[in-house]
């Protein structure tokens, strides 16, 4: 399967720099997701890989070959769009057999190929139906089968699940990864949904304002994000403002705005530095001392209770407690909270302020 390499790719529309000097290498058989908020340039980037648009500057390589002046149809890619784009006047089998037909395969071979890919997406029994007779999830599976039936070795997915219901989306993302891995395809998947990105990808590329913020495995980005934007974007997190008051053997004490001391494990900051500590809600827990916090809301999440409050330092706090302990907390109550020192990630205080650094739109 092909590798994909982007070398200093920029795409400029008039005065707008949609993609700004992006370098990226995608390995043979890797499932990479490009994740970012609306307008970050992720769709433009995948279109540049597909050849739907030419980069203003920089180069795209697929399988080591420079794609300059290579038209879409010669790039050996399968492309699935957010808006399901099946031919409404063709039945499922003909939709899937369309690629092979364009490639001038015989009618028997077309049917055989269509059968093979429909079996893979578990829709063999719907071969004779028309797109309008299928539900959204099924239609998108047919789109996928059609993209694969061209014999593509590189699969490009542009928000393939965004138009579907939440519940269908969750089922389909496991299905998608299973399928792609079984065929060993190299896949680039664009999405704004961080949960989707985490559950399908080998590696996630976080984009913002036309550039790459960072790349990493889902576990790396969730547990050790390098950038504060990622910390907030990939999963929910608490952000506490403070100053380093003490640092020895990677054990640091951070003083919050109300004077409370929070202990964290980090070697990266010197005494006196202004920092932000990021701690996920599952690593904040009630204790006999720590951050004094007033609870404002309790929410049942099924597997746990999410408790929301305001700390004395004025930082908003969210923490999770087991289902059996949920009834111990109520609005207006004061509690003391500690954080797991090893699960805390510390960042230099952004010059533009926290709100601006993690802004979602």
């Amino acid at each position: 399967m092909p590798t994909v390499e982007l070398s200093k790719v920029s795409v400029i529309f008039g005065k707008v720099v949609a993609v700004d000097e992006v370098d990226l290498r995608i390995h043979d058989g890797e499932y990479v997701t490009i994740l970012g908020p609306s307008g970050c340039g992720k769709t433009t980037l995948i279109r540049a890989i597909a050849g739907i648009l030419e980069p203003t500057r920089g180069e795209v390589f697929i399988g080591g070959k420079n794609m300059k002046d290579v038209p879409i149809e010669e790039r050996d890619i399968g492309y699935v769009f957010q808006n399901i784009a099946l031919f409404p006047n063709m039945n499922v089998a003909n939709n899937v057999g369309y690629g092979p037909r364009v490639h001038e395969k015989g009618i028997e071979e077309q049917v055989e190929i269509a059968r093979k890919y429909l079996e893979l997406v578990k829709l063999l029994d719907k071969m004779q139906m028309f797109p309008s007779e299928l539900c959204g999830g099924e239609q998108q599976k047919v789109s996928l089968a059609r993209a694969l039936a061209t014999g593509a070795k590189l699969l490009l997915l542009d928000e393939p699940l965004s138009a579907l219901d939440a519940r269908v989306r969750v089922d389909l993302r496991y299905e998608l990864r299973r399928l792609v891995k079984r065929l060993g395809l190299t896949t680039v998947h664009v999405t704004h949904d961080q949960e989707e990105a985490m559950s399908v990808s080998d590696r996630i590329v976080v984009m913002r304002a036309g550039g790459i913020v960072e790349t990493g495995t889902p576990a790396q980005l969730y547990t050790r994000p390098l950038d504060i934007f990622t910390a907030n974007f990939v999963g929910e997190t608490n952000l506490f403002e403070g100053w380093v008051t003490h640092c020895q053997d990677c054990k640091s004490a951070i003083e919050l705005r109300d004077g409370t001391i929070m202990n964290v494990v980090t070697c990266d900051f010197a005494e006196g530095e202004a920092v932000v500590v990021s701690v996920r809600p599952e690593f904040v827990f009630p204790f006999t001392e720590g951050m004094r916090t007033r609870i404002t809301q309790t929410i049942y999440m099924g597997n746990y209770w999410r408790i929301i409050g305001i700390a004395a330092s004025e930082d908003p706090v969210e923490f999770d407690v087991p289902v059996a302990e949920g009834k111990l907390y109520h609005e207006g109550q004061e509690v003391y909270l500690m954080v797991n020192p090893k699960a805390a990630v510390v960042y230099q205080r952004p010059r533009e302020g926290i709100a601006e650094a993690v802004k979602l739109e």
Partner: protein, 363 residues
Amino acid sequence: MPSVRLEKVEKRYDDIRAAEDLNLEVRDGEYLCLLGPTGAGKTTALRLICGLTDLDSGKVFIGGKDVTDLEPERRGTALLSQTYSLFPQLTVAENILFGPDIRDLPEEQRRRTLANMLDLVRLTKRPDAFPGELSGGMSQRTALARALASGAEVLLFDEPLRALDARLRISLRHELRSLAKSLKITVIHVTHDQDEALVMADRIALIRNGHVLQIGEPSQVYDNPVSPFVANFVGQSNFVTGRIIEKGEKTVVRTESGMTVFARQCAMEMGEQVVVGVKIGNTEIAREGDSFFEGIVERVLFEGRNLHVDLLVEGTIHFSAKIPSWRLGKLASGDKVMIRWSAEKASVFPMPEKGLREELKVE
């Protein structure tokens, strides 16, 4: 603020039943989420309440008053659509003041209403912007301000967060709910997203085929589902089918292949064919110890706070489990694990008439 009640409402479009014996009671000042898959009749229910769709039979009450034959503009309701329907050629301020009741007010009062609304939805700096210049979140807040400025006391939200990015959607859940709560308005919020409903609702009404299947607080709907469909739609569930072989404080069910599982107490009879459902988050997997049966790990997916584990039981039954992510690296594809759950976490349902597969369909 008024309560809302639908009584035996029926609505048909040719052979599609959009509302069938639809009964719903929303309390004064309540935040109710109407949750269901596409085509369940959620939007139809909203349109019936505000009068944009005529019903075939039944009654609609708002604030205890029968409004079935009342014109939409006199019901005191405002419908906020998925796409916000702002006028692109009008500014934020003009959009907010567009409502018929406001247009005729004296200038001074209009100015005050506008200032209040802009302040409420944090748009004081953008009154002169056009919708095309706003972000998704801002457009949504403008539409909300317009609905509130019209003096509506019942707000009908049709998937208000759908058009927004996933991460932004999570951030805006609290904001939207707090706003509604601070104004004490009655809200009916339509969504297909069960997480959104769990987080935002005072009560959830689960709707399918134009009919309310279950209504209750999020914890009731999650922990005591009335059917396999509800069990699976609100937090995914695993299912086992079999016959009841023992009854008492817990129910013992034996599958056709001879596996034995426990579930909570139930009203069904000995020997009856049943479905046992357990949430994937309550499905425990362990290397050893007591268990109901064994499974083979098919894959482990990292999802942040949890790992999603897919399992294969007896070579044919698909099971899943959600376990804390600190167990990452301790499980791998091909591993043999023991599967179990506490009896009180599993529900027992009568075998659905059309079979389990049909019952669980989400679209």
